[in-house]
Symmetry: C2
Subunit: 179 residues, 2 copies
C-alpha cells in the first residue's frame, strides 16, 4: 500500500514490493503470481484491519465531545491517508483494466457495506430506515469526495469547516426522522 501511494500502479510490481519488504522475488511470486494478486491481497488485508480498528473503538466518543462531529472525523479518516491513496491508484487502474475491475468490484461492494454499517454504529441510528440510508450513504459520499480533494494538497482547514456544517445538517435531519 505504501508503494502504491508513493509510486503508483505502474511502478508497484511484485519485484519492487519484494525488494522493499526484503524478501526474494521468487518467494513473493510463489505466493502472489501477479501484481493484481499481490495488490488485491494487501488492499483486502489492510482495509479489514482498518475497519476492525474503527469498530473496536466505535462505542467511545471522547468525553464531552459532539458525537456526530466525532463520528464524521472517524468516517473521513477512512478516505484520507496512505490506504485511501493506494486504493485510488487501484480503482483508477481498474477503470481501464477489465481483469482488475472484476476483482475490485466485489471488494468495493463489501467495503461500501462495511463502511455503511460502521457509519450507522458510529452515528447510533437505525440503518434499516430507508430515509436514514439515503442520508448516511450520502455522508459517506461526502467523506469520499473530501478524501479525493485531499490527495494533491492538504485540505484539512476547509474540510473541518465543511464537516462542522455537515454535522449540524445531519443532526437536524436525524432529529426530524426520530420525531
Amino acid at each position: 500500500m505504501a508503494s502504491l501511494a508513493e509510486s503508483g500502479w505502474t511502478r508497484t510490481t511484485v519485484a519492487t514490493v519484494a525488494a522493499r519488504a526484503g524478501v526474494s522475488r521468487g518467494a513473493a511470486q510463489h505466493h502472489f503470481p501477479t501484481r493484481g494478486d499481490l495488490v488485491m491481497a494487501a488492499l483486502k488485508h489492510m482495509t479489514k484491519v482498518r475497519l476492525a480498528g474503527l469498530r473496536t473503538g466505535q462505542a467511545v466518543p471522547p468525553e464531552g465531545s459532539d458525537r456526530t462531529r466525532w463520528a464524521l472525523d472517524q468516517l473521513v479518516g477512512l478516505y484520507t491517508g496512505t490506504l485511501f491513496t493506494a486504493a485510488l491508484h487501484v480503482w483508477t487502474e481498474a477503470a481501464v483494466d477489465a481483469g482488475l475491475r472484476a476483482q475490485v468490484i466485489p471488494l468495493e461492494r463489501t467495503l461500501a457495506w462495511a463502511a455503511y454499517r460502521l457509519a450507522v454504529a458510529l452515528l447510533d441510528v437505525d440503518g434499516e430506515d430507508p430515509r436514514v440510508r439515503a442520508i448516511v450513504s450520502g455522508t459517506l459520499d461526502l467523506a469520499r469526495g473530501l478524501g479525493l480533494a485531499n490527495v494533491l494538497t492538504d485540505d484539512a482547514m476547509r474540510r473541518s469547516r465543511v464537516l462542522d456544517a455537515w454535522a449540524e445538517q445531519l443532526d437536524q435531519a436525524l432529529a426530524r426522522l426520530r420525531d
Copy 2:
C-alpha cells in the same frame, strides 16, 4: 480525454493521441512536446467548455421542476462521464509525479473556484456568506464523492436517492440561513 478515460495515463501518449486524431506525430509533438503538455491543454480546454455550457444554461431550470434538485443534477454532472474519468487519471498520476502535480494544483484551484461560483448561481444563494460557503462547498464534495463511486459501476439509482435526501436538507439549511 477519451483516450485517458478509455486507456489510462500510461497508454495515453502524444503518439497514440496523434494517431487517434489522424494527425502526424511530428505535428502533435510540435504543439505539445510532452504528454503532460498535451493532457493539461486538453483538460483545461474541455473543462472550460463544460463550465461555459453550464453557465449559459444556469438561469433556466425546467418549468415546474424543483430548483435545488435540478441544481444538484447539474453539479453532479461535472463529476460523472468521460471528462471526470479522464481528470481522475491525471489527478492520480499527479499524486506520484511532482512535475505533473505542479501543473495540476493551480488548475485544481481554478476549477474548484469555478465550480463554487457555478453552484452559487445554480442554487441562487449568497456565496459570500461563510455559512453558505461551508454548505455549498460540502455539496460539491458530495458531488465529487458520488462521481468517484460511479467510476467502476453505474451508481445512478443509489445516487438519485442520496440527492433527493440532500436536496431536502439543503433547502431547509438555506431557508434557515435566509431567516
